[in-house]
Amino acid sequence: MDEQALIGSACKGDARAFNQLVLLYQSMVYNLAYRILSDADAAADATQDAFLSAFKAIHKFRGGSFKAWLLRIVTNACYDYLRDKRRRPADSLDDLPVEEDHVRFLGGGAESPEECIERRQLNRAIQQGLLSLPVEQRVVLILSDLQGLSYQEIADATGLSLGTVKSRLSRGRARLRDYLLEQRELLPTRYRLRDAG
């Protein structure tokens, strides 16, 4: 059954059809939440909330990209979580643990164990760098460079204009680059950015 048929059945209250959609998109949704929140449990909660909200509101889906619609819902769920966190400053974002157990390297077993450790260090730095960004820039950066969405898809998923998407992405990338430059002494040599000039 294709996506549109599943959506049509879900609109009629077929939870099984909607669960097919969940299985299709849950990895994408969970990864987005995880990268935004940097917390496995919070990301799981946001993902579950997002799917539940999507099922309740599926009658509002008016065609277009279901993926973008779903990403928008999970993004809003993450915003809600962060707002709650802000109301409880005891759990500041700086204290959130950065998960380190999900390092799987591209290229399978091509990397040596040392390279694997070095890559883990880099990934941790990138995740910390993402957390250092304003959440608006973080979301756009993740949607673009981690989820691989086009500018238009990002605009659809966030409700932003194309110009705003471009500028946020540009600033987010520059800030992350600057963060990695600041942290380069802590990174393996092969993952250090070189100074200008």
């Binding site: 969940v22 849950q26 990895s27 969970y30 880099l122 471009k166 540009s170 680059r177 430059l181």
Partner: protein, 375 residues
């Protein structure tokens, strides 16, 4: 020291803002050409582009995080039905507010018109043929004259026989006399037109008048006063203008010793009717308390009637609490007719009930919605 010219700085800034989009191939051909020309001669922008490219590559190489569990929903889950645009709550709220405003307007208007005196409308006819309350039995009568302020008998119901009895028209009476009652000696108190059965009529008060007051001194040391109040006066005038009083009997108790009674208008003492006794309609007026209520009564009967017969007509006017200032009573009564007061009360009650019902319904709907939303 930056040796770049202003134009170079502007171009550097322009290109720097577009390097990210250049990486993604999101520039227009014109922008792309400008950026590439600048990159060819600007090492700083080349460094910027390279570091950005490296950052994006590292970012995109972040491994996907495995999903900790399946996020499928229970199959019993149901999507929320498309909420139909509901006008129920706004309508209920609007109606509640409207009724509340109306209620406030009516209540405020009521208070303004009645002078905050709920007792002002309490005078009412109890019955015109109910058993006479236990009448006092004065053993002797003394007479006083006092000024009585203007007052109003608000509603009087007089039965047809009364009209025949006390009307100045020469309608034959069932009583043996068959004569019209004597005219009012005072002259100012014109014969009050009497109304037919079951017709309520508002009777305007006479101007301030002097009324003879009878004081009956009861036996066994008890003193009972039968004051001819303004209400009695009016009642008496309803029955017969210029009344002669004779003894009568009611509800087993006999009022005795009353020889005359009359209304004297404008300070002139009215002698007892001097007409032929058998042509005079006698009126007994008085007031007394029975069952916690104060009654003013006036009884008319031909003087020739045997005293053992029941009164032909009796008018009872229930009086308000004596604490009420007569002047204010008259004022209030003069402003609002009785029917208006009754309808005002009905309107207030209806609006109050409607407001309570509407407010309850609105609250119930709002609570139900809130509960549904919180689920």
């Amino acid at each position: 020291m930056d040796r770049r010219t202003g134009k170079q700085r502007t171009e550097h800034h322009y290109v720097g803002e577009r390097l990210s989009a250049y990486l993604d191939g999101e520039l227009t051909p014109q922008e792309r050409r400008t950026v590439e020309q600048h990159l060819a001669r600007c090492q700083a922008c080349r460094w910027e582009l390279n570091t950005l490219r490296q950052t994006v590559q590292w970012l995109s190489e972040l491994p996907p995080v495995p999903v900790p569990r399946a996020f499928t929903l229970p199959v019993t889950a149901r999507p929320v039905r498309a909420p139909q645009r509901s006008w129920g709550l706004p309508l209920l709220q609007g109606a509640t507010v409207l009724v509340a405003l109306l209620l406030v307007v009516v209540v405020v208007g009521d208070f303004l018109l009645t002078g905050f005196l709920p007792a002002a409308t309490s005078r009412q006819i109890v019955s015109y043929e109910q058993p006479l309350p236990a009448a006092p039995s004065p053993s002797s009568i003394a007479w006083e004259t006092r000024e009585v302020e203007q007052t109003v008998v608000k509603t009087v119901v007089v039965e047809e026989g009364l009209a025949a009895l006390s009307s100045p028209s020469p309608t034959p009476m069932p009583a043996p006399t068959g004569q019209p009652p004597a005219a009012v000696p005072g002259g100012e108190a014109e014969p009050t037109p009497l109304v037919s059965k079951d017709v309520q009529e508002k009777v305007a008060a006479p101007p301030p008048a002097t009324v003879e007051e009878r004081t009956g001194i009861g036996g066994a040391g008890a003193v009972e006063t039968m004051a001819l109040t303004e209400t009695e006066t009016t009642a008496a005038r309803l029955l017969a203008p210029g009344a002669a009083v004779t003894e009568t009997e009611g509800a087993g108790s006999v009022v005795t010793g009353v020889e005359t009674a009359g209304v004297q208008m404008a300070g002139t003492e009215t002698p007892a009717p001097t007409g032929q006794p058998n042509r005079t309609t006698s009126v007994v007026t008085g007031s007394q308390e029975a069952g916690g209520e104060r009654y003013t009564y006036a009884t008319a009967l031909p003087t020739e009637r045997p005293t053992r017969e029941a009164p032909t007509v009796a008018v009872y006017v229930q009086e308000p609490a004596p604490a009420v200032a007569p002047a204010r009573q008259g004022e209030a009564g003069a402003i609002l007719p009785d029917t208006a007061v009754i309808w005002l009360g009905v309107a207030e009650l209806t609006l109050l009930v409607a407001f309570i019902l509407l407010a309850s319904a609105t609250l119930a709907v709002m609570l139900r919605r809130r509960r549904r939303r919180s689920q």
